[in-house]
């Protein structure tokens, strides 16, 4: 590379010009000619403005990239392309041991800081953290692309609703039942797909996800079909958090003789959910270091090598599927109880895609990454509400940009370091 490259204004101008023309072709008809019946209405100013801004933007990038400073800043924006594995350093930083207690305390104090609305948003975000953690086991660790993860979520949610409707069982009984039920379901779905690889696996799981949703929708007599079913709220030793008791207990505020606030229910759900999420993070982190977790990662890297070394790929894959499904089921229970009402329209393919986006954006396999990505992807659409109908557009653009900015996810996964001779943690 020559040290001193002459900056060419001409090239930048040409780049800008052609980008503008292309933008005009792309945006011209759709945003410039608005259909009114069988006629079109002329709104050509809009695409002209868009094309102009595209042209100017392209010109600036094209010009800046020729200067050293510009290259430096643009390079920062686009993100690095380094591949391969990084290993965590053995020496822990000074504040490492303080970090986790501080985070847990911060998490527990969230209900004190936030109003009801933002609390519900955070609850939803935590539900997605759970979903992300669960799908991360299947996709991130075991390397099986699952596009129908929403099926297990639905199974969990409907287990709670159906259990309450037909057997009058509450949240606490159904939580373990739903976890086991979803895991069983995972095994059932996992079995036929073990032979498949990559995208064939993806489409079959997508198919399963759709089948579950359609069946829930069609079985009107049992599930309520599109009319949905109601789900009970969690109770604290029989105390309920509703204004008037619904499950035959005593309302919480009457028992303690305090004024009623609709926030109590959400604070309670948040606290349980927070504890469950913490336990799940612990569980997943430990799992990764156990033989089972290592077998998952090994199988992801090279299936043939694994099988030749005597790892039973059937049990390994099935266990990943079941663990993932179990976490999804638990998330489903929380979703149903948080919402109080479920119907099949909450369990569409788009939901699966969103959870997958969390896992991929989080950095495939990284627990911290999944948490960050889940928070970003659930809080972002709510934060964008002020933009009204531009919300989805901005959300989509953000998704593309984040992928371009960090193609390997927000947090790069690091292998744990071990020292020879010393007992490892």
């Amino acid at each position: 590379m020559p040290i001193q490259q002459k900056t060419s204004l001409r090239k930048a101008l040409l780049d800008g010009f052609w980008s503008g023309i292309l933008a005009l072709i792309i945006f011209g008809p759709i945003s410039g000619l608005v259909l009114k019946g069988y006629e079109v209405q002329n709104e050509l100013m809009r695409p002209l403005l868009i094309a102009l801004s595209v042209a100017v933007g392209r010109f600036l990038i094209s010009y800046l990239i020729q200067t050293t400073k510009g290259r430096y800043y643009l390079g920062k924006l686009v993100g690095k392309r380094d591949a391969g594995v990084t290993v965590a350093s053995l020496t822990k930083s000074k504040y490492q041991h303080l970090l986790i207690p501080v985070l847990v305390l911060a998490g527990l104090s969230v209900p004190l800081l936030l109003g009801k609305y933002w609390l519900t948003v955070v609850i939803l975000a935590l539900i997605y953290v759970l979903l992300g953690l669960g799908l991360n086991i299947v996709v991130g660790l075991a390397g099986m692309l699952d596009l129908g993860y929403v099926a297990f979520y639905a199974v969990g949610a409907y287990t709670l609703a159906m259990g309450a409707q037909y057997f009058e069982l509450g949240f606490w009984t159904m939580l373990p039942v739903a976890a086991i039920g979803a895991a069983m379901f995972g095994a059932m779905l996992g079995f036929p797909v073990l032979r498949m690889h990559g995208d064939y696996l993806a489409i079959v799981t997508l198919g399963f996800g759709e089948i579950i949703r359609l069946v829930l929708n069609n079985m009107l007599e049992i599930t309520g079909g599109p009319n949905g079913a109601s789900a009970p709220s969690p109770t604290l030793f029989g105390l309920e958090f509703t204004r008037r008791a619904k499950q035959g207990g005593i309302p919480f505020h009457e028992y303690f003789d305090i004024a009623y606030s609709p926030s109590y229910k959400y604070i309670f759900i948040y606290l349980i959910l927070f504890v469950v999420v913490c336990l799940m993070i612990l569980f997943v982190t430990r799992l990764k270091q156990m033989p089972m977790g290592r077998a998952w990662e090994a199988l992801r890297e090279d299936e043939i090598a694994c099988r030749s070394l005597g790892i039973n790929h059937v049990t390994v894959k099935l266990s990943a599927f079941m663990m993932g499904a179990m976490v999804g089921g638990i998330a489903g229970v929380f979703f149903a109880t948080y919402q109080g009402f479920i119907n099949p329209s909450s369990f569409t393919f788009f939901e699966s895609a969103l959870i997958l986006a969390i896992v991929v954006l989080g950095g495939l396999g990284s627990t911290v990454g999944v948490i960050v990505a889940a928070l970003v992807l659930t809080i972002l659409p709510e934060a964008l509400r002020d933009f009204a109908e531009y919300r989805v557009l901005l959300f989509g653009i953000a998704m593309v940009l984040m992928m371009v900015w960090k193609p390997r996810g927000l947090i790069r996964i690091k292998r744990k370091a071990y020292e020879l001779g010393e007992p490892t943690a």
């Binding site: 759709i30 079109v40 797909v193 995208d199 198919g207 399963f208 989805v392 593309v400 193609p407």
Partner: protein, 305 residues
């Protein structure tokens, strides 16, 4: 069983299948070359439906009324513009991700699909839109009461899908461009070393795939007469299913998968239950993939050590 009803249901399945196949070809081409599921493909199809209506109204306002001319002009411009869309999307959302994980472009594609949908909703409104009836006429076999029928536009769809598949298969197998495509598909690095501009080849494939979506978009819009910004989603998933059913990456496979899927849906909803037709279609897909893990016509994956 009534032979006419059976015949009509088979025909319904064939037409629906051809539509699936036509869109599935675009999926399969893109998948074939970079191994990526292009979720925005369904929305390209949706864009082309809007283009159809816009172009038709422009062409009519120019005073051109000769049917073949109108049809060809619409097809040409719709394909050219969606081709540009395909190129731009690849350039903006997928190319920067090349060389990272295989799932990164998938997420980018989902984001792109949201962008396209809401872009169209914002610019064109959420309402249903329609196109006037361009091609009239119907072919009926049988008597006054009992008959099997197919409209001319439906005939056109079936023919176009087979011609499209044959033409693309010819390009891939016989031309220099096709050879470069296959080389890029097998080993991108090696192909680049041998002097193939792989970036350009990939872009070309996106352009071709997107214009196939436009071909489908124009004809299908003329057939159903109405569309909205949301149509890409359902049909996109179905076409993708068809592509996988036939063996993703294989052009005749996409066509076959489309027709099998269309027939399965049509016959099941016609003779059993329309409620469960999608359950049956996906169930069939699972069954096929359990016994043929690479689809009907797909080449089995070679497991390398």
């Amino acid at each position: 069983m009534d032979i006419y009803i059976l015949g009509q249901q088979l025909l319904n399945g064939l037409i629906l299948g051809s539509i699936y196949g036509l869109i599935a070809i675009g999926y399969t081409m893109v998948y074939g070359i970079i191994g990526m599921i292009n979720f925005a493909h369904g929305d390209i199809y949706m864009i082309s439906a809007y283009l159809t209506a816009i172009l038709l109204s422009l062409i009519f306002s120019l005073g051109i009324t000769s049917l073949p001319v109108v049809l060809l002009l619409t097809l040409f411009f719709a394909m050219a513009i969606t081709g540009t869309y395909g190129w731009a999307i690849e350039r903006v959302a997928y190319r920067p991700l090349r060389g990272s994980t295989r799932l990164a472009p998938l997420i980018s594609a989902i984001g792109m699909s949201l962008v396209l949908q809401s872009y169209v909703q914002i610019s064109q409104g959420a309402r249903n839109q329609g196109v006037p009836i361009l091609i009239k006429g119907v072919l009926r076999l049988g008597g006054e009461e009992q008959f099997v029928q197919i409209t001319y536009i439906q005939i056109l769809i079936v023919i176009a899908s087979f011609i499209g598949m044959a033409a693309l298969t010819y390009i891939i197998l016989r031309t220099s461009l096709g050879r470069q495509c296959r080389a890029t598909q097998q080993d991108r690095k090696m192909a680049a070393i041998l002097g193939i501009n792989t970036n350009r080849i990939i872009s070309t494939v996106f352009v071709i795939g997107s214009s196939m979506a436009a071909l489908a978009g124009v004809l299908v819009t003329l057939n159903y007469g109405s569309f909205d910004f949301y149509i890409g989603f359902v049909i996109g998933i179905k076409a993708f299913t068809a592509a996988v059913l036939g063996g993703i990456g294989s052009l005749p496979g996409a066509m076959l998968g489309g027709i099998v899927l269309g027939m399965a849906e049509g016959l099941f909803s016609g003779f059993v239950s329309s409620d469960y037709k999608d359950v049956f279609a996906f169930g069939l897909l699972v069954l096929v993939l359990v016994f043929r893990p690479s689809g009907l016509l797909g080449k089995p994956e070679i497991e390398k050590v």
